[in-house]
Symmetry: C2
Subunit: 406 residues, 2 copies
């Protein structure tokens, strides 16, 4: 017996037999995005290791590898274990590996043949990892993280990077495999955000070259890796145009691209397409949450059975379309002027335009049970609300029930 | 193989073998809260049906029933199914039952012997439910929801309540089992919030009496139910002191009390204890998230491996204590002056007081790998981040690995 919310064991179509609310990934947009970003990485001479933390959906990891990805990026040791359990063998943990129970998880994956990279930015962590993996006769690939002042993790300057590299060389159980960064934490408050991102990319290139010149890079092919889903085009270009020689291979890591979004990343994409005019069509939003009107308690207000436990709340969800329940195949109705004004744990308050709830002669007045499709900003915080997400075609037929492994 | 985050299969103690971050429920505070709220309900002549949506943790439902609860309240049909699958037979769905796939879930529970109540506030929904359950030869218990103007769901006045009751009587498959409300959506912006809550409780009592006088209550013992975790004392008192006769039994439904919190509900409790001076000790916070310092990249900043995917973010989490890793039994270290200033998906930015990261002679300087216990506001949005939560004793020994069923 399924006991999670939104199980879809009974429904051939989102509008027929599926317990709502439910999260849906649209196949046409998904297929487009998978091919689009892989082609982008290929065109920039980069390997692609999409960030899997966005979806934690093994069925999507598989699609990403089939589309040409080199590996999957993850944020934590348990996430790496979950991906490995579903067949992913090359794992880039773009984070520090802290705590012996987490080290034990990664050690087990390496012992089973996993090619695992993780990130370091402190001598203390390097010593701990060196001791831990040496005691088990294993070798861990590490990337030095280069951060920015006022940012998140990472060495703050080249001097720290070189000192850490020497510390890594004193640990036989660690292999220095390259350099890692994340431009998403660069402050872009100024008038030239793109310039700040490019400057960070160039600092990464300089640090990579300094490591190479100092003879500190051990791997035959070292990695230089950065990029989230907002500025990946600038990072890709800086890495592509740099004189990195044969030793450094760029690895790009955006994750949200796979389903894109209806908020933050839709806006970021406007910047990408403006900066890169050769890119014709961009990414398409592929993730929606379907939920039903449960109450129309007073004029101008619809309460929808969907809350913070069902959809990301970094911004208010955006009503996209509406359907009558029980009527697959019927045309979508308008939600023009509908606005989510409040989100509780299990409820959304939707302000309706005048007359939306009047019993008009055009027959599209809102009714109890109406099914509303919502878009959200920041897909990571919608995926993690679900134990299963359904993949649907353009007609809302359910193609696949995709478990997540958060 | 476990593939979720925070699995705790290897650790006898939170500081020894448990992959962090992890969420922990402290047994002493849990036991106190379970007994405290049950005694409170008993003392007010009320049945207790704690809201299970807070934790969705069957092991905690079991504890609530063992402590004397009459049933478990839930918010959705899949939540009811999950609770039923773990042995809960009396389910109060404090929400409208919308959508035939959700009706099918509830029908199945009733067919299997479940005693299920749900809430109605519209003629359209009453007709749909009546038709659906009649076609299956089943009978559904419904409670009429009384709301407030500008609030969430629910009838807005007594006239609507009575009209809806008559509509329910026209549906042989529905049994009108009482009245439901939620005082948490009453506007308390004014200078007399308690007065507004009391007035709402009295409106509920009046509506119940009106239903009774009109001969519209069918059940031998009807329910009058309200109360979240902030104003339950006022609701309990109004119901207790009302002349409800033998027909109406009050049912209280707070859910967050079971682990209480370090924010919103801690503050709400100050009000409860002030209003009810006979209550000596109040509820105790029982839920914490343990996570490790992963980076100390610049003076005054610690980056902790815990983010919006691990802990509720309605407010910033509160650092409570700190431990050295690998040292169960060692005394906790101070986090005085530590402040979470930013939360990303998988990272917390903690601002440290001056000298917290200096290599001082007192030996309590912050180190990479230090384990920090955090408290949060609003436990519902911390529980739903986890597939398993561990129950620990005061010495952080893991007593039980408790799966959640979100």
């Amino acid at each position: 017996m399924h006991t999670d919310k939104g199980t879809i064991e009974t429904g051939p179509n989102l509008l027929d037999g599926v317990s709502l609310p439910a999260a849906a990934v649209f196949e046409p947009a998904l297929a487009h995005n998978l091919a689009w970003m892989q082609a982008f990485a290929d065109a920039h001479g980069a390997r692609f290791a999409p960030h899997g933390k966005t979806t934690m959906t093994p069925a999507l990891f598989k699609r990403q590898l089939e589309a040409g990805a080199w590996g999957i990026t993850l944020a934590t040791a348990p996430q790496c274990r979950a991906a490995f359990a579903h067949g992913i063998r090359r794992l880039l943990m773009a984070n520090q590996l802290i705590g012996e129970p987490n080290m034990a998880i990664i050690a087990e994956l390496i012992a089973q043949g996993g090619e695992v990279y993780c990130v370091v930015d402190s001598a203390a962590n390097v010593e701990h990892l060196g001791r831990y993996f040496a005691a088990r006769g294993l070798r861990l690939r590490v990337l030095i993280e280069l951060g920015v002042a006022g940012g998140r993790c990472g060495c703050r300057d080249l001097e720290q990077v070189l000192a850490l590299a020497e510390g890594i060389h004193r640990q036989p159980a660690l292999a220095l495999a390259g350099l890692e960064g994340y431009e998403g934490v660069v402050s872009v408050d100024g008038s030239e955000p793109a310039a700040a991102i490019r400057a960070y990319g160039r600092r990464m290139v300089e640090a990579a070259q300094a490591l190479e010149e100092a003879g500190l890079i051990e791997a035959e092919t070292a990695l230089i890796t950065a990029s989230g889903s907002a500025w990946y085009d600038l990072i890709a270009k800086v890495f592509h145009e740099a004189s990195l020689g044969a030793r450094f291979v760029p690895v790009l890591r955006p994750g949200c691209y796979v389903v894109h979004d209806h908020g933050l990343y839709r806006e970021a994409q406007i910047g990408v397409l403006k900066r890169q005019p050769t890119l014709k069509q961009g990414l398409l939003p592929a993730l929606e949450v379907f939920a039903q009107v449960q109450s129309l308690p007073e004029p101008g207000l619809a309460v929808v059975a969907m809350g913070k436990r069902d959809i990301g709340a970094d911004r208010m969800p955006e009503p996209l379309r509406r359907y009558r329940e029980g009527g697959p195949g019927a045309p979508a109705l308008s939600v023009a002027g509908w606005e989510v004004v409040k989100l509780m744990d299990q409820h959304a308050f939707v302000r309706l335009p005048a007359d939306a709830d009047a019993d008009g002669s055009d027959g599209d007045e809102v009714r109890i049970g109406d099914i509303v499709a919502f878009g959200a900003s920041h897909p990571c915080l919608t995926f993690d609300k679900w134990r299963r997400v359904c993949r649907v075609d353009a007609a809302l037929n359910v193609i696949e029930d995709m478990p997540t492994c958060f």
